[in-house]
């Protein structure tokens, strides 16, 4: 009889030891400071004038330059180098465009997220 009663008491005490723990979720969001650099505006470029000189028109070209009050001096390229400078320029232009668009894409991707968050907060 005693053994049964003691057994029941022991079981009751032991079940008291079991328990359910409270679930805690920690979440702390610290927004990163925005870089917010202004995109530089492209300045308007000055126009250039190319002059073609051949052995036939060289005298005439220099004479015209003097008449126009320009120093009779030219910085020259042969036809092959002219083609190369045109291609180099096109490469630089393409690179500039790609870099610029890449920057826009990054800005759009990351700042859109910030805008969405700001809109949600408001």
């Amino acid at each position: 009889m005693y053994r049964i009663i003691i057994s029941i008491l022991v079981i009751l005490f032991l079940t008291g030891c079991s328990g359910v723990k409270k679930l805690s979720i920690f979440k702390e969001e610290v927004p990163r400071a925005k870089l917010d650099l202004a995109k530089p505006t492209m300045p308007e470029l000055e126009k250039l004038k190319w002059i073609i000189i051949t052995s036939d028109n060289a005298d005439e070209v220099f004479k015209k330059m003097e008449e126009q009050g320009l120093d009779p001096v030219l910085f020259g390229l042969n036809d092959k180098d002219f083609q190369l400078i045109a291609k180099n320029f096109a490469q630089i232009r393409a690179h500039l465009k790609v870099t610029n668009d890449l920057l826009d894409k990054y800005k759009e991707y990351y700042e859109k997220e910030d805008k969405d968050k700001d809109e949600k907060r408001n």
Partner: protein, 157 residues
């Protein structure tokens, strides 16, 4: 004998009190479980939202990549076109400049102005209405139609 009875009564009272406490504890546990379930549901909702956002991000990355690839290909086409103009049909640009000096000078000065505009556009300058609406060869900037004239579709005639 009386002591024995008192002992038994004590045990019964203790058992009843223990049972009462146990029920109260069960109720408290139940409350905690309910709160846990709510938190779990919230966590699941947040996770779903996160997965949804990740999908959107992935799509945005894919689109950006495709657009960049398209741009690079178009710029390469412009470059090939430039190369083609200098050497089309075995053309000797130098010889042509000797034969038609004035004409070639006029052409390269016109092209040079257009190239400067291309650089401005590549640097982020906005397109003009005229550039946006250009669809004919005579209206486009032939130095960089892929970036200067978004509505121009190349044609051969």
């Amino acid at each position: 004998m009386l002591g024995m009875r008192l002992f038994l009564i004590g045990i019964v009272v203790t058992a009843i009190a223990g049972g009462g406490f146990y029920v109260m504890k069960l109720k408290a546990d139940n409350e905690i479980l309910k709160a846990n379930a709510i938190k779990m549901e919230q966590a699941i909702t947040e996770q779903k939202q996160l997965i949804e956002n990740q999908k959107k991000d992935f799509q945005a990355i894919l689109t950006a990549n495709n657009e960049m690839n398209e741009l690079v290909n178009n710029l390469k086409k412009d470059l090939d076109d430039l190369d083609n103009r200098f050497n089309k049909g075995g053309r000797d640009f130098g010889k042509l400049a000797i034969e038609k000096t004035e004409t070639i000078q006029r052409i390269i000065n016109g092209a040079s102005d257009k190239v400067l505009r291309c650089v401005e556009i590549a640097g982020g300058a906005p397109l003009t209405e005229e550039e946006i609406n250009a669809t004919k060869k005579s209206e486009i900037n032939r130095e960089c139609p892929s970036i200067a004239n978004p509505n121009y579709v190349p044609y051969n005639n």
